[in-house]
Chain length 364, copies 2
């Protein structure tokens, strides 16, 4: 994937809110390319810093025209709707961007490069259409590869979708680097790939090859660092996405897992039939479930809880972190809000004590 | 899918053995179209009845030429290799069949209709190329649909791949019909679709849509009968395929599961790196694991054990069935070998006593 200097404008029309615009917010917070503006005509005058803090000054503008004078090089599609289809109202905006000479970067299930109208316009304008969700050519089933001795593979898992599993993995990678350790991040979703420049959107892979793809992604991650932080997907109790979650657990066979939870969220937040509801499960039950099902293929342990305290004020966040540590007996923090250093130190200590890390290395 | 009268010849070159040729054997045993012969030049003089019993008299011939005088209408590809790719040595045989005016029916991951050489030859010869593994156009995530009141959805699960989950579902459907009940079979793999004429190869579906696809397949099954027997895939502890298995469990949300096991098999039988081995788990542990993980989305119970006793003589088979019933406290039989009547009666009684069947109906 091209990593030439880019100047992004992010399309999030009608959707620049914390949950719906997780792609936009992830790219603004963790990406390496400057973001000039977000397009959302329903939120004029808003700014990313309201959601991400003062360091992230990205204005929201009503149309593409406001941004063009500032020289953007690419339009990035900043939402990830259920089913991943392109809202029809976005079509004219994308065409206008192409005509204005911008590349278009997308993580939708509907591939923009395969759209005849977009493809023809892009050829004429000489711009690139990049589909980050396009599955890799390698179609391989799992072979039972062992991890490289010296590597420590840590997967983020969660009590729901879209609560911060990618962010936690990125914060822990940053903390590991700050501790002077070699470390990598394995992106398993389109936003992570946009940020990191490599990876695979596991939810787009043919199901027979999910675990095989995770296996070779792990290998690539282990080539890039000793501490490998893998972005999780979905949740093990999710009515729509649990199988993708399990594919990551049995495909990456992580030495350890970090369970991400958002206090205040009580039900799975996804498009379901009216009248139905799917309550989240208590943390101790989720810890047990993850360890039991992981252990059917390779032993793994939940070594820490990462809370997303975005629904709480700072005092309440600290109280909830303490309460959760007591409830679970595990180290707990909000690495997104308070930095990943403390949590990573605790994880490092616990992973170092896991018997299977050393058994595998003694055998290798 | 066309169900016009067909006369099949099955290609299983070098592979007409119980495990490798499970597609061939499934179609011979359960399909509605007559099978004239199996092509396998490495097993001249063999006959399907050696594996399936005297009712299944299908000779093995060395080449397609031996079968042509008997008027076959279609060549069916009768293997399901890991990764599902076409062995290159089969290419000339498939081309010869097309030139001889035969349709070609395939369940491989490599779609034969997308192969330029096959497609051109088929156009010229006026024959059809049918890819049973092609995923459905519907790309839907789960919505949390409830089962139709009055339906009883039963999923076969297993301790490994390729040990008879499809056959058990078909035998139970037959037993339910013989008991005068309305019943359907939901095919989730290419062999099942070849036999039944509808279904979807779940292992070929994009992982994001696995559970959604299971949900609407269940709806179609419930339209066709009260007792819905769903063909399972893989196993929950399988290093390569467990995520597909979980997709079926959380997508079909079966009222009950039947656990299939093959006594004598001790390790997962799949293409893995040399030196690695993946032991099967004891039945009581697998029963617990299935019920726990199913219960994260909807309650379900393992109500019976179906043994594949093909590695045992008849006396040993009966002993093993008794021993397993004692070990697990569940009804147990080999429905493939001894008929599905007894096992279905026991399942019917147990499913009738499951509290959630009635709770859901009282609420509906």
């Amino acid at each position: 994937m091209s990593r030439r200097a880019r100047r992004l404008v992010i399309l999030a029309e009608g959707e620049f809110r914390p949950h719906a615009a997780k792609t936009a917010l992830g790219v603004i917070r963790y990406g390496s390319d400057p973001v000039l503006a977000v397009i959302d005509s329903t939120r004029p005058g808003a700014n990313a810093r309201e959601m991400l803090g003062p360091a992230f000054d990205v204005p929201v503008v009503p149309t593409l025209d406001e941004v063009l004078p500032h020289g953007p090089t690419a339009l990035l599609i900043g939402i990830a709707p259920t089913g991943g289809r392109l809202p029809p109202s976005w079509r004219p905006i994308i065409l206008a961007a192409i005509h204005a000479g911008l590349d278009v970067l997308s993580g939708l299930h509907t591939f923009i490069a395969d759209d005849p109208e977009f493809a023809a316009a892009a050829r004429e304008a000489g711009v690139d259409l990049v589909d980050y969700r396009r599955p890799p050519e390698r179609m391989e089933t799992s072979l039972g590869r062992l991890h490289r001795p010296g590597s420590r593979v840590v997967l983020t898992v969660g009590t729901d979708c879209a609560i911060g599993k990618m962010s936690v993995a990125l914060e822990l990678r940053r903390a590991a680097r700050e501790a002077g350790l070699s470390s990598s991040f394995v992106a398993t979703g389109q936003t992570g790939i946009m940020i990191e420049g490599w990876g695979a959107a596991i939810d787009r892979v043919v199901s027979d090859f999910v675990q095989g793809t995770c296996e070779w992604l792990s290998e690539l991650g282990e080539e890039r660092g000793d501490w490998v932080f893998v972005e999780g997907q979905g949740s093990l109790d999710h009515p729509a996405y649990s199988s993708v979650t399990l594919g990551l657990i049995h495909g990456f066979t992580p030495h350890a897992m970090v369970l991400v939870h958002k206090p205040g969220l009580t039900e799975h937040d996804f498009d379901h039939l009216p009248g139905r509801s799917f309550p989240l499960h208590p943390l101790p039950e989720m810890i047990r479930a993850h360890e039991q099902i992981a252990g059917l293929v390779a032993p793994s342990s939940v070594v820490a809880i990462a809370l997303n305290t975005s629904l709480l004020d700072e005092a309440a966040a600290h109280r909830e972190i303490e309460r959760t540590a007591l409830e679970t007996g595990l180290p707990c923090d909000d690495p997104f809000r308070f930095g990943g250093g403390r949590l990573f130190s605790a994880i490092r200590e616990r992973v170092g004590a896991l018997p299977w890390v050393h058994t595998a290395e003694a055998a290798a």
